[in-house]
């Protein structure tokens, strides 16, 4: 039985012929022929945190670097600092931000180690935008903090083989309202914009004696979790239900189907990511340094007309 599992895992069906070089162009040419019918329907800005196997790859690498599961350490607290503002002739302005222990525009799940050095990111803010430079910085800071948390929870998932548990998922950052002998009551971190989430304001989940608990990277007991702490949880949805058209299923709103597998005490979010995420394209675009523009920066994409 194990041999078959191993063979299946180890031998994916891959075509020999790579995709044709014109694949993207063919897709885009199809799109340009027809107008987009769903413009300006923005998605909910922030995702309910779900464990990603791509992140697991990052976590595994992190464990290997550390030498053992016990050597897993929380990433250093990332920082995002505004470095300059530059007015443009158009009336728009550029905001420069430097980050440490974070590469805010790295691909999803692509971080295998703590990003070294300082990363520079630049944004162009439209004239008349309601978005403040501080909100831009805050969005970058929050994104970095969430990346750090995700890497930590991925390490716990790997160390405890939770990825083999059917219906496993991880949560957003919660604030603990109460922690009893066998239950925990939580509410989403106040920095999330509640309009973007489907979680009820406060939920109580049962906690069994075999729950795995960490204080950041260190082993801990459930009794170490106190009111006011910030935590992320790894849970199992035992319902077997899935989203149906028009009726998204969020098992976290149904404590009776939730088994808490793991709890990690994490730093609280220091700021909100939501405002920045909601402003992309309409009020703010990312810039890359370039030599073809007199300003020294070129837009990674354009503003929405």
């Amino acid at each position: 039985m194990k041999d078959l599992e191993k063979r299946l895992h180890g031998h994916p069906a891959k075509p020999v012929k790579p995709l044709t070089a014109t694949f993207n162009a063919s897709v885009i040419s199809e799109l340009k022929g027809k107008p987009h019918t769903q413009m300006f329907n923005k998605p909910r800005a922030f995702a309910q945190r779900r464990f990603s196997k791509a992140s697991l790859v990052a976590a595994i690498s992190f464990v290997v670097i550390g030498g053992s599961a016990a050597a897993i350490t929380l990433w250093p607290q990332p920082t995002a600092i505004k470095t300059f503002t530059k007015e443009l002739p158009s009336g728009n302005h550029i905001v420069g931000i430097d980050t440490t222990s974070c590469n805010p525009i790295a691909a999803v799940g692509g971080m295998q180690t703590v990003p070294a050095g300082i990363h520079h990111v630049y944004y162009e803010v439209k004239q008349g935008s309601t978005l403040t430079d501080e909100q831009v910085r805050n969005g970058i800071q929050a994104s970095c903090e969430l990346d750090m948390d995700n890497n930590t929870i991925s390490a716990m998932v790997h160390a405890n083989h939770f990825d083999k548990v059917t219906g496993m998922q991880s949560t957003n950052v919660y604030t603990v309202n109460a922690a009893g002998n066998d239950s925990i009551t939580v509410t989403p971190d106040s920095h999330y914009n509640s309009k973007n989430y489907t979680l009820q304001p406060s939920m109580t989940y049962k906690v069994s004696g075999d729950v795995k608990v960490q204080n950041e990277s260190n082993p801990a007991q459930f009794g170490d979790i106190k009111t006011g702490d910030s935590v992320m949880m790894i849970v199992q949805d035992t319902s077997g239900k899935t989203d149906q058209p028009g009726a998204p299923w969020n098992s976290l709103n149904h404590p009776d189907v939730i088994k808490v597998l793991g709890i990690i005490k994490v730093p609280a979010l220091t700021t909100s990511p939501d405002v920045l995420y909601g402003a992309f394209a309409s009020q703010i675009v990312r810039l890359d340094p370039c030599t073809t523009s007199p300003t020294g920066f070129c837009r990674a994409y354009d503003f929405v007309k």
């Binding site: 039985m1 078959l4 063979r7 299946l8 895992h9 031998h11 994916p12 069906a13 891959k14 075509p15 020999v16 012929k17 995709l19 044709t20 694949f23 993207n24 063919s26 897709v27 885009i28 799109l31 027809k34 107008p35 987009h36 769903q38 413009m39 300006f40 329907n41 923005k42 998605p43 909910r44 800005a45 922030f46 995702a47 309910q48 779900r50 990603s52 196997k53 525009i105 691909a107 999803v108 799940g109 970058i140 994104s143 990346d147 059917t166 219906g167 496993m168 489907t198 077997g240 899935t242 989203d243 998204p248 969020n250 920045l276 995420y277 992309f280 394209a281 990312r286 994409y301 929405v304």
Partner: protein
Amino acid sequence: MQNIQEAELITQSLNGDTHAFSELVDRYKNAVYYHCFAIVRDEAAAEDIAQETFVRAYYSLAKYNPDYRLSTWLFTISTNQCLSYIKKAKREVPSAGKLLENIEARNPSPQKNAEHAELHAAVERLRPNYRAVISLYYWQGLNYAEVAQVMGVPINSVRVWLKRAKEVLRKELA
């Protein structure tokens, strides 16, 4: 789960920016192509279906629920496309010889060649929905809940399909 860049790209795409959408295509096109190939077993058809997947995704992007990974949603679209293709064309994977040739070309060890060939010949003979769940679970790294979401069936069905698929494979490989 999105990071800041993916959130930007999705927002841009929703606003009609095809350059941003092209970046999303770059990120996921190979995974979608491989998954389609695992089901339809025909490179040209897999590429066509992968293209159609991204076109449909673009026009349905507002319906995407960011509670879930974008890849899961793309696999949902592509799996439906692949199964429809097989149904319409009444194709039951004709290209065993070609597939084995391809596998042999990639694996230098004769013993490994034989193992690959044997396994994939057996997978090829599975029903299309079994091939789909094998691909999603073992090769695309989705968990049971995600596979259930992609296939639009209860988790228990996924469990049963995987179990039956493996029973068939065990018999074939015995």
